[in-house]
C-alpha cells in the first residue's frame, strides 16, 4: 500500500514537528539572559596586570608581528618615572581589522595580551573600534591568574631581587668566581 505509506510518512513528519509544542525553546534570551561563553572563547582583547597590579606588557612587539593582519600598534618606552622597566607608551588595537585569531595571545611571552569571553563590541562609528590602552587595560590578571614574568625572568623588580624567581638559584657573588 504505497499511498498509505506516503500518508503515514507525511503525518509522521507533522507529528515530529508538532511535538515541539510541548518542549521548552532552547533560545537564550539575549540581552536579558547572557549566553554562556567558555573560558577559551576568543573575544575582546584585554591587556592584563600581573598579580601585583603592574602592567604585564613589556612592549616586546611580539604580538604585533605575530598578528596576521597587523592590527596591533604599540610603542615601547622605559620612562623610569612611570615604571621601572619597559612598557608600552601607547598600545592600540584596531578591532575593525582584528580577526580574533589569538595569535597575539599565543605569542605574548608575558601573558599580557589576552582574548576574553566577551563579544559586545558593536559600534556606530568605525573610529570607535580602535581601542587605546586605556580601553584595553583591565584591573586584574585575566585568564592566567598567577603568572608574573618578572618572577620567572632574572630581572630585578620591585618585590624581588635578581635570581629570586621560580627555579632560580640565589644570586652568585660574581667576585667569588674570580680566581
Amino acid at each position: 500500500m504505497k499511498p498509505l505509506c506516503y500518508i503515514h510518512d507525511l503525518l509522521l513528519g507533522l507529528w515530529i514537528v508538532f511535538k515541539r509544542t510541548f518542549t521548552k525553546p532552547v533560545t537564550v534570551q539575549y540581552p536579558e539572559e547572557r549566553p554562556y561563553l567558555p573560558p577559551r572563547w576568543r573575544g575582546r582583547i584585554v591587556l592584563t596586570r600581573d598579580p601585583d597590579g603592574e602592567e604585564r606588557c613589556v612592549a616586546c612587539y611580539l604580538c604585533a608581528v605575530a598578528c596576521p593582519v597587523d592590527c596591533i600598534a604599540l610603542q615601547a618606552t622605559d620612562n623610569p618615572n612611570a615604571h621601572e622597566r619597559r612598557y608600552p607608551e601607547f598600545f592600540r588595537i584596531n578591532f575593525s581589522r582584528c580577526i580574533y585569531c589569538g595569535h597575539c595571545e599565543e605569542a605574548c611571552p608575558t601573558n599580557a595580551i589576552q582574548l576574553i569571553p566577551d563579544f559586545e563590541q558593536s559600534e556606530y562609528a568605525r573610529r570607535n573600534l580602535i581601542y587605546e590602552k586605556e580601553d584595553l587595560l583591565i584591573s586584574g590578571t585575566g585568564k592566567y591568574h598567577d603568572y608574573n614574568f618578572y618572577r620567572v625572568a632574572g630581572v630585578k623588580t620591585r618585590d624581588k631581587d635578581k635570581r629570586q624567581g621560580e627555579h632560580e638559584l640565589p644570586p652568585v657573588d660574581v667576585r667569588s668566581l674570580m680566581p
Binding site: T23, K24, P25, V26, T27, V28, Q29, Y30, P31, E32, E33, R34, P35, Y36, L37, P38, P39, R40, R44, V46, P68, V69, N94, F95, S96, R97, C98, I99, Y100, C101, Q114, I116, P117, D118, F119, E120, Q121, S122, E123, Y124, A125, R126, N128, L129, Y131, E134, D135, L137, I138, S139, G140, T141, G142, K143, Y144, H145
Partner: protein, 235 residues
C-alpha cells in the same frame, strides 16, 4: 550620561531632545511628536533584513535566526529576498571588488527608509583580507549605520548590533510624509559604545582559567543563558 544596560542604550535622545526643531516647525504639537514616536517604534521593531550574504559572516547571521539565538524575538526574522521589501542591508562578509557594484545596486534598489549593518572585520575594513581583490571596508561606497567587529561576529553579537540599530532607529525622526513637514531625516548623535563601556570593562579583574571547563552541562537540551558571572570585578 548614556549607559549600556541589558542591551538597551539608556539616555540616548534624538537631537531635538523632544522640544527642539521638529515640533517647533509643526507648531508644538504634542500629538505630532507622539505620532513620530509611534512610527519610530514601529520601524524599530520591524527591521526586515535583506537576504544577502557574502561569506562566512553570513552563516553566523543566518545562525542568529535559528533556535539558540532567535533574532525573531526582535521581529527581524522576516528575511526578504527582494530589496524592495527589506529595510536593512547586512553586509555580512568579505566585500570583493567584483561584488561591490552588486552590493551598491542592491542598496540602491532598496527603498526608504533603509539601513546598513556592516558585519565582520572584512566588511568593516577588509579584515584579514588585505588583498588585491577585496574592498577595504564597505563604507568606501555605502553609508554604514552600525559596525560589528568579529571574524565572524558570533550570532549574539549580531543581536547586540540589532539592538544598537533599534536604538538608533527608535530615536531617529523621519518625515511623516513626503508632501508636508520637514523632509530631512534627523539622525541622533550616537554615542561611542567603547567609551560607554570603558569604565565597566577596565574594572574587570579575572576570567576563568582556560584549562578547566567551568561547566560541562552546556549540552543538556535546555541549558539556557545565565546572568554573566564569568568576570569578577572588585566593585
Amino acid at each position: 550620561m548614556t549607559g549600556w544596560r541589558n542591551g538597551r542604550l539608556e539616555g540616548v535622545r534624538s537631537i531635538d531632545g523632544g522640544d527642539g526643531s521638529l515640533t517647533s516647525v509643526v507648531g508644538q504639537s504634542v500629538l505630532f511628536a507622539k505620532l513620530q514616536d509611534l512610527l519610530a517604534w514601529g520601524r524599530k521593531n520591524s527591521l526586515w533584513p535583506l537576504n544577502f550574504g557574502l561569506s562566512c559572516c553570513f552563516v553566523e547571521m543566518a545562525t542568529s535566526l535559528t533556535s539558540v539565538y532567535d533574532a525573531a524575538r526582535f521581529g527581524a526574522e522576516v528575511v526578504r529576498g527582494s530589496p524592495r521589501q527589506a529595510d536593512v542591508l547586512v553586509v555580512s562578509g568579505t566585500v570583493f571588488m567584483k561584488v561591490a557594484p552588486v552590493i551598491r545596486q542592491l542598496y540602491e534598489q532598496m527603498l526608504e527608509p533603509r539601513w546598513v549593518i556592516s558585519m565582520g572585520s572584512c566588511s568593516n575594513s577588509g579584515g584579514m583580507f588585505d588583498a588585491y581583490s577585496v574592498v577595504q571596508g564597505v563604507d568606501k561606497f555605502l553609508p554604514v549605520d552600525v559596525y560589528m567587529p568579529g571574524c565572524p561576529p558570533p550570532p549574539h553579537a549580531f543581536m547586540e548590533c540589532l539592538l544598537l540599530l533599534q536604538n538608533m532607529v527608535g530615536s531617529e525622526r523621519r518625515p511623516l510624509s513626503w508632501w508636508f513637514g520637514p523632509q530631512e531625516v534627523q539622525k541622533p548623535i550616537m554615542p561611542s559604545m567603547r567609551d560607554a563601556k570603558r569604565e565597566e570593562r577596565t574594572r574587570q579583574r579575572e576570567y576563568p582559567s582556560i584549562d578547566v571547563l567551568p561547566r560541562t552541562d552546556i549540552l543538556s537540551p535546555h541549558f539556557a543563558g545565565q546572568p554573566n558571572g564569568l568576570s569578577k570585578d572588585n566593585s
